[in-house]
Amino acid sequence: MVDSHFFQSERDEQWFVGLTDGPCETQNLAETVTDPKNGAIAQFLGVVRNHNDGLSAQAVDYDVHPELAMKALKKLAIELTSVYPVRLMMVHSRGLVSVGEASVVIAASSAHRKDALSAVADAIDLLKVRVPIWKREIAPDESHRWLDGHSLRQD
């Protein structure tokens, strides 16, 4: 996985975060976090499904505020790599992602499995409530609806 796949990305020794147009690449995820010191690699792929709330879907169009999303992803990566001794990568899609394609990929490696598994679980939970991204679900008849989510308002 190389930085040119992303319209925005940033890396540190311990983490990599990026935003990509269209579906996320799901091959060679492990390479991104491989470290000879680490014996465990955990991965999560968020994939577009063909139904939601009892309605059929054929794709999701992701809207992103790139500047704020990168800031939130970077902050989350720094936070998680300070809590867990892991190498971490998080990538999210912008634009159209069809059923079966990945809209978010997360991978972490650690010396032992628990830290990698916990880091990946926390990463997806926190990404969903912190990173400014929106979903427009597209039905088979091309009608669409924006999905509700988590408010960032704090006052």
Binding site: E67, L68, W134
Partner: protein
């Protein structure tokens, strides 16, 4: 009275990518009021509840309603739904 160019995201994009609004006051709360009045003018009362759960970003900073408007350009962020 100032003018703010407001970028729409998420569900608000159904109204277009951006709008210029006159704001009568120095606070983010005043901008929120202007947006609400605009939605009413457009007959989009349905967006008022979402607006109430939305936040304004100036550059890469999220501001509260009690904060001062810091720029003539802002983004309106509805509740997020990534993943």
């Amino acid at each position: 009275m100032s003018t703010v160019r407001l970028h729409f995201l998420g569900v608000f994009r159904d109204l277009g990518d951006e709008i210029s609004l006159s704001v009568d006051g120095p606070l983010v709360a005043d901008l929120r009021q202007s947006v609400a009045e605009n939605f009413l003018k457009l007959g989009r009362d349905d967006l008022l509840l979402v607006l109430n759960r939305s936040v304004f970003a100036f550059g890469d900073n999220l501001l509260c309603d009690s904060d001062l408007i810091t720029s003539s350009e802002a983004s309106l962020l509805p509740p997020i739904a990534g993943g």
